[in-house]
């Protein structure tokens, strides 16, 4: 039995605009229910939608950044279905002339780089929110979110594992953050994903295609990986039980249960995919002029894959470190600022990805928002690299104090007396004591055992509370032991 896993992704990204897609109501998360509504987004009779230019531009910017081909003319269509979160009885979306067709997204996993093909990118409006009250038999509806601009990005089923699915979502979120078109926050729901999973099973000369399962209710990057991993296993087991009978259903929707880590059957609307699309008669088609394209193109910055490669070339970083730095553009900016302030790139990357990142995690913030001035971090790294302070002291003592006080690392080092001891006379006295107190080690070294020196070094370091400059101590000891 040979199993090929096919995963495609549908991702919805809320665009960050002041006003909604087709009306001037404010877009804001967490406002009192039904306080950001008007006749247009409530679908009241006689109201007319007018597209938000900024939303169009942000969506076009995304289309260009993904390498999609935008059409000369784009238009909106009505997607008809009845559900209480959709006040008009249809969603204004795009059907046959989306803002982007084709395009790609580059992902990085342990296995390396992979280019995932995109099918399309289109613009549509978000729905309201239903809140189900247990017991009362009623649902409460809040239309604040109704009409928020959304971009939907659909990939080809090019993803072959849970890890790749996660990497895809991470790469997509990074890209929209680089483009500054969305917060890309999954907890607040401004980035939502629905993976489609199925298997092509070759068994006994026959090819069996399991039903395409769309998974809903995924609210974090980690959970997309868990959900897909569970679903692949479930489909294999279902095939082992039912055999070819699994193909009776063509597609289905399942929900993800984050507590149990499983997917469950969701009740289906009958004829769910009969949306009766037709052109939105209230909105004339929109010409994507050369001026619009260049305005959108000008908003596309250096993108993560290009930046990652530049970090690898210019700063000699490994692919993994470069990728992690570039996943958050603020972190990548911060890294460049530390390097610009005079730090060597490799130690800068290392400090940011380990020590600084650890403090950021502990304080539940990001590296860039930690409040650690890039010049200060560069100064600390320089103190360590030039041997003026032990790395351990810099990590354990100086860095936490810098974060609390914003003080200059050199001043902290002096105040706390953490500077490496380089005083020739003082170190010489300690070294002489070391030789006197470790006669065996001294004799061993003189007899040619290089390793014996470490016992003597250890003695001096203990005597100086670890502050002695090891290079100076070593040369003094070598000098002392070569005498006589």
């Amino acid at each position: 039995m040979k199993v090929v896993v096919l995963i495609g992704m549908e991702v919805h990204v809320q665009l960050r605009t002041q006003s909604k897609m087709f009306c001037r109501c404010q877009v804001r998360f967490g406002a009192p229910p039904n306080s950001l509504v008007c006749p247009v987004c409530l679908g009241l009779p006689g109201s007319l939608p007018v597209p938000n230019r900024e939303a169009l531009l942000k969506a076009l910017t995304a289309a260009l950044a993904f390498g999609c081909t935008p059409p000369a003319v784009t238009k909106f269509d009505r997607k008809n279905y009845y559900y209480p979160d959709l006040p008009k009885g249809y969603q204004i979306s795009q059907y046959d002339q989306p803002l982007g067709k084709g395009g790609t997204l580059e992902i990085v996993t342990q296995e390396g780089v992979k280019v995932v093909r995109l099918r399309r990118l289109h613009l549509e409006e978000d729905t309201g929110k239903n809140l189900h009250d247990e017991g009362t038999g009623r649902s409460r509806v809040d239309y604040n979110r109704a009409g928020t601009p959304l971009v939907e990005i659909v990939s080809e089923p090019d993803l072959a594992s849970p890890e790749e699915t996660r990497a895809y979502l991470t790469a997509l979120r990074t890209l929209v953050q680089y483009l500054d078109i969305s917060d890309g926050n999954m907890q607040e729901g401004n980035l939502r994903c629905e993976p489609n999973v199925n298997l092509h099973i070759e068994d006994g000369g026959k090819l069996i295609k399991t039903p395409i399962i769309e998974i809903k209710n995924i609210n974090s990057v980690r959970n997309v990986e868990r959900a897909v991993r569970y679903e692949i296993q479930r489909q294999i087991e279902e095939y082992q039980q039912k055999g070819a009978a699994v193909t009776e259903v063509e597609r289905a929707t399942r929900g993800f249960d984050a507590d149990k880590g499983t997917t469950f059957v969701m009740r289906q609307k009958e004829a769910a995919h009969d949306y009766r699309y037709f052109p939105e008669p209230d909105i004339p088609p929109i010409t994507i002029s050369a001026a619009w394209r260049s305005e959108a193109q000008a908003r596309v910055p250096e993108l993560p894959p290009a930046r990652r490669r530049r970090f690898m070339q210019e700063h000699d970083l490994g692919e993994y470190d470069a990728d992690v730095l570039c996943r958050d553009h603020h972190t990548a900016d911060y890294f460049e600022a530390v390097v610009a302030a005079g730090s060597a790139p490799k130690p800068a990357a290392n400090w940011i990805l380990t020590e600084v990142a650890r403090h950021a995690n502990e304080r539940e913030t990001t590296v860039a928002q930690l409040g650690l001035a890039s010049a200060r971090l560069a100064a600390l790294i320089d103190l360590v690299e030039s041997g003026r302070i032990a790395r351990t002291a810099a990590v354990k003592k100086i860095l936490p104090l810098m974060l609390d006080s914003g003080e200059d690392p050199e001043r902290l080092m002096t105040t706390l007396g953490l500077a490496r001891l380089d005083d020739e006379n003082l170190l010489r006295a300690a070294a002489e004591a070391a030789v006197k107190n470790n006669e065996k080690a001294a004799a061993d070294y003189r007899a040619g055992k290089q390793k014996a020196l470490s016992a003597l070094m250890g003695f001096v370091m203990r005597e100086t509370q670890g502050k002695a400059n090891p290079d100076t101590v070593r040369s003094i000891l070598e000098e002392l032991l070569s005498e006589e």
């Binding site: 008007c38 597209p51 938000n52 008809n80 009845y82 209480p84 509806v141 969701m266 009969d274």
Partner: protein
């Protein structure tokens, strides 16, 4: 294009409308007449310059600026049911909350 009662029943289901078989039959008849009437538009001869007229040049869009909408009380006023904050609707299970 003939409109069959089956088509009417299917669209009625999509639209969450209840109807008897007799109503479906009679609606199929009515819709057939309406569609045939509209079909007469197909007889109009159009030249290449008549296509969609100024429709494509309209390019209607607006700047991204907010304006206040309805007061909540006004928004909820005409709803069949509301609790002062939310619209209330019968519970629907067919599609889970996202």
């Amino acid at each position: 294009m003939p409109i069959e009662p089956d088509e009417v029943r299917h669209v009625a289901e999509l639209s969450r409308l209840e109807m008897t078989p007799e109503e479906a039959d009679s609606l199929a008849d009515d819709l057939q007449k309406i569609v045939s009437y509209i079909d007469r538009l197909q007889e109009v001869e159009l030249g290449p310059d008549d296509e969609a007229l100024t429709y494509f040049d309209a390019d209607v869009h607006r700047e991204d600026r907010t304006a206040s909408g309805l007061e909540r009380a006004d928004a909820l006023w005409n709803a069949p049911d509301a609790d002062g904050e939310f619209f209330l609707v019968p519970k629907i299970l067919a599609k889970d909350e996202e």
